[in-house]
Amino acid sequence: MNLALLFDGMLVVLILAVAVWTVTVRDSFAAGIGYAVYGLLLALAWVRLAAVDAALTEAAIGGGLTSVLMIRATVRLRAGEAAARAATPGPLPRLLAALLGGSVAAGLALVVLALPDPAPTLAPQVAEHIATTGLGNAVTAVLLSFRAIDTLLEAVVLIYALIAVWTLTPDRFWGGRPGPKYETDPNGMLAYLARLLPPIGIVVAVYVLWVGADLPGGKFQAGTLLAAMWLLAIMAGLTEAPPISRRWLRGVLVAGTVVFLAIGFAGVPLAGAFLAYPEGFAKPLIVAIEAASMLSIAFTLALLVLGPPERRDQA
């Protein structure tokens, strides 16, 4: 107990220290790096909270993709950094903001301390009904059966976000390829990594997806991994992002949601409700949804990181 508490205490101190540093450090680039470290530390915290699924997601998306996004952006914005920093509020507003933020935090802390004991939980209900899904991972059961609509809407969120990002395309580049053309040294370090890592990543992603039914893991973690691999290959100049006007690309983007919807509606005649699974077929259907969603998620996430098209489709 106490050794564990000591370790957790150290972890908390580290997390907070990195967080403070990320907020206060002058240089945005450094803040981006700080956020990557923060994400990894936070993933550890998730492990300590017995939420390995969340830990994987946090590490992959929070620590990984978000940091890539931020660091890339800080590099592109470097020229304007000094000018933007000049607009920093004076000490008085900063003090006021600190007071306000501190009050909110203090209030929250009080609420945390006052949370009821024993805590209410849905774990028994999940345990009671998980058998109908044939899954071993309760989190996956929640995501794809009990609260499937959330997951469906979440897939829609990703598509919305991508549509929103694409709206920012300059008109002349519409239908073109996202992101700049990466003219990377084919013998450089990035290319080196991009040649070695992605195949391994593919194996790991399929693994994460496949075990997701019973162990921590699932389509988001797997999809993120695939996206990261693809991005690596793109940024290393080994392959190119497809033009966004391609039909096949649009098809892949919506595939997961379409499969989800199709199976959901099939549940109306077969299982008596939208998003219900016919008895005994729950697990294979869920795996089918997950597999299709993984691909869609991977493409969507990668394209989100790449941003709107910045050049014409020369193909």
């Binding site: 952006a73 996956t140 929103a164």
Partner: protein, 109 residues
């Protein structure tokens, strides 16, 4: 003091810290980063709620754990959109701040 409470307090502080950053950071990117801090603090609190609900051999209540995953993905989507906006704004104006529009009303269409 137990483990969930410790992380719960950590989450509360992260929220406050992120809010502070969101207010005072002049650069939009740093605001986005601060928003992510707030978000992760909220998720951490949710994780604490889940952990407190551990029962029947489950290390935590799976419902909040599942929701956190959804939340993280949503937060990432938001971040991606915000960053894309900042970059586009920068490409167009050579600067990326939220300041100038305060001065006067923008032309409209």
């Amino acid at each position: 003091m137990n483990v969930p409470t410790l992380f719960g307090l950590c989450g509360a502080v992260l929220v406050g810290l992120g809010l502070y950053g969101l207010v005072v950071s002049p650069q939009p990117l740093r605001k986005i980063l601060a928003f992510n801090l707030v978000g992760s603090g909220v998720f951490l609190l949710f994780g604490v709620v889940a952990r407190r609900g551990a029962a029947l051999g489950m290390g935590g209540d799976p419902v909040p754990q599942a929701l956190v995953i959804t939340g993280i993905v949503v937060a990432f989507s938001a971040t991606a959109l915000a960053v894309a906006l900042v970059l586009r704004l920068h490409d167009m104006t050579g600067a990326a701040t939220l300041a100038p529009a305060d001065a006067d009303e923008p032309p409209v269409a």
